[in-house]
């Protein structure tokens, strides 16, 4: 697994450029670190390996932060790949609850209840 790629610097700008097709993330979809992604289809032969990996790992909900960690890509690069999969309807995004100024009291109660059971 590692041998063939040993000379490929994982973090090189060239690698990121190739993987994301040179895009740095559009404003079309707002993706957060904790936007949950769930696959809607199985990987197809010939897919880009990183996108196929996302479809495999998102059989259960997974945050983009986790996707970025497992793929060892910067968050923004992982978000570009996810945005393409969303546009192709291959994955579904469950948008996080974004606290605007202050979070919803009901949400806070649910968090407190969950934490108290830890």
């Amino acid at each position: 697994m590692t041998g063939a790629h040993a000379s490929w610097d994982e973090g090189s700008p060239e690698r990121l450029y190739v993987i994301t097709g040179g895009r740095s993330g559009g404003a079309a979809v707002t993706l957060d670190l904790v936007t949950l992604i769930v696959s809607r289809s199985a990987p197809q032969p010939g897919m880009q390996p990183e996108q196929a990996a996302i479809l495999r790992m998102c059989q259960y909900p997974l945050s983009i932060a986790e996707i970025s960690a497992y793929l060892r890509l910067p968050f923004s690069a992982a978000a570009v790949l996810v945005a393409d999969l969303i546009a192709d309807r291959r994955v579904e995004a469950r948008a996080p609850v974004m606290a605007t100024s202050l979070p919803d009291p009901e949400l806070l109660k649910a968090v407190m209840y969950g934490l108290s059971k830890l």
């Binding site: 994982e10 973090g11 957060d32 670190l33 904790v34 936007t35 949950l36 769930v38 990996a53 495999r56 790992m57 059989q59 259960y60 909900p61 997974l62 945050s63 932060a65 986790e66 970025s68 960690a69 497992y70 793929l71 060892r72 910067p74 968050f75 923004s76 992982a78 469950r94 996080p96 609850v97 974004m98 606290a99 100024s101 202050l102 979070p103 919803d104 009291p105 949400l107 806070l108 109660k109 649910a110 968090v111 407190m112 209840y113 969950g114 934490l115 108290s116 830890l118």
Partner: protein, 208 residues
């Protein structure tokens, strides 16, 4: 880049799968000076082995000599250790800790955007290391509480002294904790939630 190449698995383990019904994710950021125990706290309460995500920030160079129109930029990699707690079959909490240099975290807007709040972890042996962080959070309007991580050789200060030293208003809770302990770290998160709850239920004074 700073990803640990030896440790992180390439895909989640089967036991790390979230319930398919989970549809709501919230996040809390744990900030504090170097070596204060942020990653320890994340690890103490996380149901997954903490993972690392990162982002490369580009800043225009300041005070750089003109090199015939070549734009000088500095790239800084900001890394975040994070963990996860499933709170119910619908709700999941992510905790982000910050191992790098604190002055760079705030370049990463997406980290604090939408966060429920923050925990400022403090080592009383190095109080001054927290001033910048507290100032940044106040400036951004991120609600936070302060948690004092008890190190064996930490001098014990009364909370009132710490409040004065940190220039914190009465309303901001200061709690003691042991970041290595799951129960203690959970209690810190609960304190933050209770504080946020009081903020949502306290009527905002009418402008005069």
């Amino acid at each position: 880049m700073g990803f640990p190449s030896s440790e992180a698995p390439a895909e989640p383990r089967a036991q790390d799968a979230l319930a398919p019904s989970v549809n709501t994710a919230v996040k809390i950021v744990i900030v504090g000076g170097f070596g204060v125990g942020k990653t320890t706290m994340v690890g103490a309460v996380s149901e997954i082995r903490p993972l690392t995500t990162e982002e490369t920030m580009t800043q225009a160079g300041v005070g750089v000599d003109d090199l015939a129109g070549v734009e000088q930029k500095t790239a800084t990699t900001v890394a975040m250790d994070f963990g996860r707690i499933s709170l119910s079959d619908q709700l999941v909490l992510y905790l982000f800790g910050t191992p790098g240099q604190e002055r760079f975290w705030f370049l990463w807007d997406g980290l604090f955007q939408g966060a429920l709040g923050a925990v400022v972890l403090i080592d009383t042996r190095r109080l001054a290391a927290s001033f910048d962080v507290l100032g940044q959070l106040e400036e951004r309007g991120v609600p936070f509480i302060v948690a004092i991580n008890a190190f064996p050789d930490s001098p014990a200060h009364p909370v009132s002294q710490l409040r004065t030293a940190l220039d914190l208003p009465e309303s901001v809770p200061i709690v003691n904790c042991d970041a290595r302990s799951r129960a203690s770290s959970r209690d810190v998160l609960l304190s933050l939630m209770r504080y946020l709850f009081t903020l949502t239920t306290t009527p905002v004074p009418e402008p005069l």
